[in-house]
């Protein structure tokens, strides 16, 4: 019996899994017609707007495209730093 970690490592390395992970990203951008660069710009602009109102730490912010069946959605998790009133 292979150990769990070994199996996990093999799964990480095999080319089918690499293809799947790459496809996941490519399909998101194909479906939404947003390039990775545009996505980055959108995140930055969003952060600018939000930080006008509340204190946020850009390093803790997560904004990602998620797949839900054939629908895509933007999922944002934006922790607000303490003493956020400006």
């Amino acid at each position: 019996m292979d150990g769990f970690l070994e199996r996990l490592m093999r799964k990480k390395q095999n080319s089918a899994n690499a293809a799947k992970e790459r496809l996941k990203l490519v399909l998101i951008h194909d479906r939404t017609d947003i390039t990775p660069g545009q996505m980055e710009n959108m995140k930055n602009e969003l952060l600018q707007v939000i930080s006008k109102y509340v204190n946020i730490d850009p390093k803790t912010v997560k904004i990602d495209m998620a797949q839900d069946g054939r629908e895509q959605r933007l999922v944002a998790d934006i922790p607000i730093a303490a003493s956020s009133r400006k």
């Binding site: 089918a16 293809a19 790459r22 194909d30 797949q67």
Partner: protein
């Protein structure tokens, strides 16, 4: 009874649309269904040679549309089966010789004559694809477990939805179970998860397919070939039967899991 129009498409070329059209046509005809298949790949006709009917062509699709012959005159009957016909593509014209509404009109005229109309779509997302899609009641997307084929399939599935012809059903062709087991071919489960559409069939990579096209005798005509069995299963699913997914993997495993997954997922 009115025929169902099934369009077989893919986006990418060379994934097995023509092979699938020919074999589904044979499999449906073997089930006593009356079938017409239409080669929608104008300028690059191929369905005729795959079916082995190339020497019997007199008129083609464009001749019918432009009124040079009657519909019946362009329907070549396959003598190996009770009721299987081919309407070949024109070879010396281009896709603009036919419009989507021409295809709708042609299929409507055929609807009362047969049970199934199969339309073999050309590769691409342009005119030929739109022509093939326009008359469809059911759309089958063919792909291979390979990164560029899956990507193109996703694009086509989106376009089919946009044209309100969805949801398309997936045929995963050329599955190599030993490569899959080794982790060097994207699994059927992963393809389904990525594309998020329903599956209607998995066809193994099968050298009999190549032999069959060499001879112009679709692999489904032979009893034993695995690919032929897989095509017969798809035909039965089109006829509304619930057919379990066959075990392509000698040692069991993936395909058992897959069929369980599909059963639990409804449909």
């Amino acid at each position: 009874m009115s025929a169902k129009v099934v369009t077989i498409t893919s986006g990418k070329g060379g994934v097995g649309k023509t092979t699938t059209t020919a074999n589904l046509a044979v499999a449906l005809a073997q089930q006593e269904q009356r079938v017409v298949c239409i080669d929608g790949d104008i300028g690059l006709r191929n369905l005729d040679v795959i079916l082995g009917l190339e020497n019997r062509i007199v008129y083609d699709l464009v001749d019918v549309i432009e009124g040079r012959c009657r519909l019946k005159q362009a329907m070549i009957r396959d003598k190996r089966l009770p009721e299987l016909y081919l309407i070949p593509a024109a070879q010396t014209r281009d896709k603009s010789a036919v419009s989507p509404s021409d295809m709708v009109r042609l299929c409507d005229e055929l609807r009362n004559e047969v049970d199934w109309i199969l339309v073999d779509s050309p590769a691409g997302i342009e005119r030929g694809f739109k022509n093939a899609l326009a008359p469809a009641d059911i759309v089958l997307v063919v792909t291979n477990p390979e990164i560029s084929a899956v990507r193109d399939a996703d694009r086509i599935v989106g376009l089919i939805e946009a044209e309100e012809k969805g949801p398309a059903k997936l045929i995963l062709n050329r599955v190599n179970s030993s490569l899959t087991k080794r982790g060097d071919m994207i699994s059927a489960e992963d393809v389904l998860e990525l594309l998020a559409i329903d599956l209607i069939g998995i066809i193994p990579e099968d050298e009999n397919v190549v032999v069959a096209s060499n001879r112009g005798q679709p692999v489904t005509l032979s009893e034993k070939a695995k690919a032929g069995q897989a095509f017969r299963n798809i035909a039965r699913r089109l006829l509304g039967e619930e057919v379990p997914y066959m075990n392509l993997d000698e040692k069991g495993g993936l395909f058992d899991r897959l069929s369980r997954m599909i059963k639990s997922g409804g449909d």
